[in-house]
Subunit: 511 residues, 2 copies
Amino acid sequence: MPAETTVSIDPTTGAEVEEVATVTSVQELEEVCRSAAEAFIELKDRDRAFRGGLLRAMADALEDRRADIVALGVRETGLLPARLDGELTRTVHQARLFADVVDEGSYLEATIDHAGDTPMGPRPDLRRMLVPTGPVAVFGASNFPLAFSVPGGDTMSALAAGCPAVVKAHDSHPALSVLVHDILNAAAYAVGAPAGTIGLVHGRQAAAHLVRHPAVSAVGFTGSLDGGRALMRLIEQRPTPIPFFGELASLNPVVVTQAAASSRTKTFAEGLVTSLTGSGGQLCTKPGLVLVPYGPAGDELVEVAAELVAAQPAATLLSARIRDGYEQTSAELRRIPGLSVAAEGGQPAGSGFAVAPRLLTMKASELMESQIGECFGPTTIIARYSEAELVDIIRTLPGSLTATVHSEPGEDIRPLVQELLPKAGRLLFDGFPTGVSVSWAQHHGGPWPATNTQHTSVGPTAIRRFLRPVTWQSAPADVLPRELRDTYTSIPRRVDGHLTLETATARKGVR
Amino acid sequence: MPAETTVSIDPTTGAEVEEVATVTSVQELEEVCRSAAEAFIELKDRDRAFRGGLLRAMADALEDRRADIVALGVRETGLLPARLDGELTRTVHQARLFADVVDEGSYLEATIDHAGDTPMGPRPDLRRMLVPTGPVAVFGASNFPLAFSVPGGDTMSALAAGCPAVVKAHDSHPALSVLVHDILNAAAYAVGAPAGTIGLVHGRQAAAHLVRHPAVSAVGFTGSLDGGRALMRLIEQRPTPIPFFGELASLNPVVVTQAAASSRTKTFAEGLVTSLTGSGGQLCTKPGLVLVPYGPAGDELVEVAAELVAAQPAATLLSARIRDGYEQTSAELRRIPGLSVAAEGGQPAGSGFAVAPRLLTMKASELMESQIGECFGPTTIIARYSEAELVDIIRTLPGSLTATVHSEPGEDIRPLVQELLPKAGRLLFDGFPTGVSVSWAQHHGGPWPATNTQHTSVGPTAIRRFLRPVTWQSAPADVLPRELRDTYTSIPRRVDGHLTLETATARKGVR
């Protein structure tokens, strides 16, 4: 019997283009995990400068192969070249930012309390720092084949922490996964990183074994609620629990005040339709529910949005599974009493994974009866509200990655923002949630079902997921990590309760 | 049928002293949770100065009632007055330290990235800060009726974060729980905190409903592995998952090098016996396994320790359940082939919860075949090792809160420490693990089964468990938390990538 293979499909035709790899056998998975565990031990002996260099070498290697990566990505995902070009830029930037974060060093939370007297009595010398947890299993997303896949935030934050990553290649872009893995692996080899620093496995069976493997210390996941739940159930079977950091499903409500609906009717409608149809609506931050007030301004806003959606061409989705999910969720939504289809864009033609964009409308008061969740694809619901019911409606919403308010200067939106705060991890004002800048102040996470933990999967604090604190008590200097020695002063540390910003130049100082 | 009650027992006699409270009905629990949810909303409008004041008022109130608290604690737990006096000091210190942490403000991780250009293109204004998650359910421990119970680290870190706490009164000190809750509640009332800031419930049924209640955002637990697992199973039934922060079981291995065994034979044995018998051995950081080298020095060390254990009186444990658990685990340990009882202290007499301290010995090589875990109470195992087998033995050990090395200056213990690092959250040198100072650099947590998350339950970073990040994008200044406004400069923040230590005095500056 021939070994099962993963196959690369052209989403514009649905045709199989090539066999990419045989699925990873249990024995091969063992080998990958053993190699990651060995790499973890070797990486412990490398300093932060090495890890920063590793991340930068990977960023450079991705940049060098930009044309190949974007071309294969376009062929395999149906996403537009400009979109994948931008996504690669973001991915490279993210790796370099994480290298800067590793250099800067405050992410270690280095803390020194010298021995001394306290109200509790004498205190021994205590020194605390974060250390890497161990190999990390990474499950990327279909919709970001770079920024949330093999070279994405989970992999790069694991490597920044000092943890090897074992990536499960996504079924919807296996060829791109292999190409990028080869590029990263070669870059790691070139800077002398141990074999096993970044691994790749294929197939569902390997995935199930990976999350239960004793060498794996944590799982990073971006995907569907069902997929995340299935992995969580497998993880619960482990004798030794490990954290699962899942980014799952998000409705991303947008509230338009009466004043904003009046003053920016057309520009809001345009921005909304751009946001909900970009990348085929396949973004975890796509606005899935828009609360628009009753009245003539709101009516006009809906009308303009409907015209724009009707003018949209059919969108080619990433895979047959995502297309089927979109049509199934759309059908379920249309069964909600009072919900109607205000506009439908171009209909799919031919044999690819195309779907029609849709604008749905309903009364917001009916949201309270229906459990509205994410519909992954180019659809949004405009729900019409009256001022008196807005707070109750917001309280019934599920948690999201984002919540957005469009209002006019001078309006007191503080009570509205207080209601939205418990529902989201990012609050936006007068914008659309589909851009996620990678920067220090970013947070990409939110109350369940947006994520299942308090952590982010974008930005420097994503690194913390793969670190754990250790305290050294009365330790001789030579067993301490160098960042905890008195003589080391080139990173921010908290010393005897006081945060200090000592820098490389301070090394020449008195301490 | 009369309502079921919780009963306060004298552990020295096993006699019921008083009925403390009726168990909390489902209806009463609803009321407590509703009140906590309302308090959470009210507390959001209070600033950090208020929360610091609340913690200090609680600390002062505990201090004012020191004599009553210690006397009732001694009567109800059988712990010594000096021990409970010290524990109250620690508890008060912890509340005040958390107040200082709230004042200092860096725990908020306030981060501002102004709008600007990036390699990814233009970035909007992004501002990130941690916000409280919501009401926290607290399950305290029997062995620290103050520092890990009603007024303990979980409660105080929840309040520091801005989260109301609902405490499940521990069955082994219900009267003390009520007294302390009344004191804290009165202190909260006196400073104008909302009703529901700190709640108390009684009974197993209330506990089971509490962790599944929709208003509860997180659970802090200190107790047994079995108890923790039972709560985790209940939490898994929730439609909305919440984090469970459990401190569960810890073996706390101690390794003595050949040189240290020779040079400090007697002082080590004395220190060990003091550490393992203090508080009846009922400490989560009790050294439960001591690796001592073969040879005459090790033989003598065992001999001295055995004499000291034999001279110990019987220890009164906290409850019938803990006594029974101690005897059951001791019996299981004695079934391990090659394990023998080297010494037994005074035998229990009368009807209280007393047990005999025990010193057990075995060959360390046999540890690899047996699954040794925590034995809660005044027992330790000395396992004898040869140099060649030490690394393999350490690799078979479960995770612990602590791991300790006793060595002589000049010995290269770095390889040994590298082996112990994956096994513990605190590494100690030439000391004993049973003291846990509350300070910035402390960490109280460790790999499973010590804790089930990467978080600490002691020290300022315990507060982070009850916070989640939120990012405000392009927000008008008046909807931002004041700590994220440009004009607010009195806490450390990261601004445009740079950590800044602006203080209250900087407010008069140019910004």
